[in-house]
């Protein structure tokens, strides 16, 4: 029982820590609501991301992944990119999550979740992931990106103007790539007549 609950408690602890930081910032430092919303969405995103990689039951991992993508869509809205947020909701939450949930239901056997979840290299993997996070944070802190101190809100009109003039070739290539991926997916997953059932 304790082993089952451990990942959930870990993720809740992370979410609680970040939400507590947000509450302290709001109350003591007088930050505005946008910052608090950013912290809450970041907490939900990181907490559910941890649940995705640590929970035993893979269906629950898939559901936590949907929560993670939803929180990320909220962060896109805070960043001033509503069209990207809409595409995130439609493509990731709508399409990819359903695809992954169907694949889980097609491939899981009864014996799979009762056995080990992690490979034997789980501890080195955790250490290296922590090192990656620390190195990335140090790099971000040490670099001057030349950014402006406030967000640039982009009108959807301007975005579609650029998408269908400067990037129209890339747009068409992506549409052909999607068609090829759909055909390839159907061909790979198709049951062959006379083959293994």
């Amino acid at each position: 029982m304790a082993r089952k609950l451990a990942p959930i408690i870990l993720a809740l602890a992370v979410m609680g820590a970040v939400a507590g930081v947000a509450a302290i910032m709001l109350v003591l430092l007088g930050q505005d609501w946008e910052d608090a919303l950013f912290w809450i969405l970041a907490a939900v995103m990181l907490g559910s991301g941890l649940l995705v990689v640590t929970m035993r039951d893979i269906i629950r991992c898939g559901l936590a992944m949907i929560v993670c993508f939803g929180a990320l869509a909220g962060i896109y809205v805070i960043l001033g990119a509503p069209l990207i947020a809409a595409a995130q909701v439609i493509v990731y939450i709508g399409a990819i999550s359903v695809l992954i949930l169907f694949a889980i239901m097609l491939t899981q056997t009864k014996a799979a979740p009762s056995r080990l979840v992690f490979q034997t290299q789980a501890v080195p993997a955790a250490i290296s992931a922590g090192v990656i996070a620390i190195v990335l944070a140090l790099t971000v802190g040490a670099t001057d990106w030349g950014e402006v101190p406030e967000r640039i809100r982009l009108a959807t009109n301007a975005l579609s103007q650029v998408l269908f003039t400067d990037f129209v070739l890339a747009f068409e290539i992506v549409s052909v790539l999607l068609l090829a991926a759909v055909v390839g997916g159907v061909f790979l997953a198709k049951r062959e007549p006379g083959g293994p059932s």
């Binding site: 912290w39 990689v53 896109y76 491939t107 490979q119 402006v148 640039i152 293994p196």
Partner: protein
């Protein structure tokens, strides 16, 4: 905090690290694909954040993010189809039992 580029970049870095841990540590093939999706989302967040804070990029950051979302959808389709095809032959979703090439 929501007006500084560094906060978004560090957030994306932590999400990328979580995804890389999941990819290295999980035994289930579909869990590994979900971890790849997490890493792709982290990279997408970086692109959108740069587009929102650096004025020289204009609308290009958002356009590139849309392209990345479309390519990620294609990747998920083919990857899951491959996992289903392997499962049909090997009857297991665990990647450490896919050892046909080591025999």
């Amino acid at each position: 905090m929501s007006d500084s580029l560094d906060a978004y970049l560090i957030l994306a870095g932590i999400l990328f690290a979580i995804g890389s841990f999941g990819f290295l540590a999980r035994r289930n093939a579909i869990s590994m694909l979900m971890s790849i999706e997490l890493m792709l989302n982290a990279v997408n967040l970086v692109i959108v954040a740069f587009g929102a804070f650096i004025p020289e990029l204009g609308a290009q950051g958002s356009v590139i993010a849309l392209m990345v979302i479309a390519v990620a959808a294609a990747e998920a389709t083919v990857g899951l189809a491959i996992v289903i095809a392997i499962f049909r032959n090997k009857k297991t979703p665990l990647v450490d039992e896919y050892d046909a090439m080591s025999q």
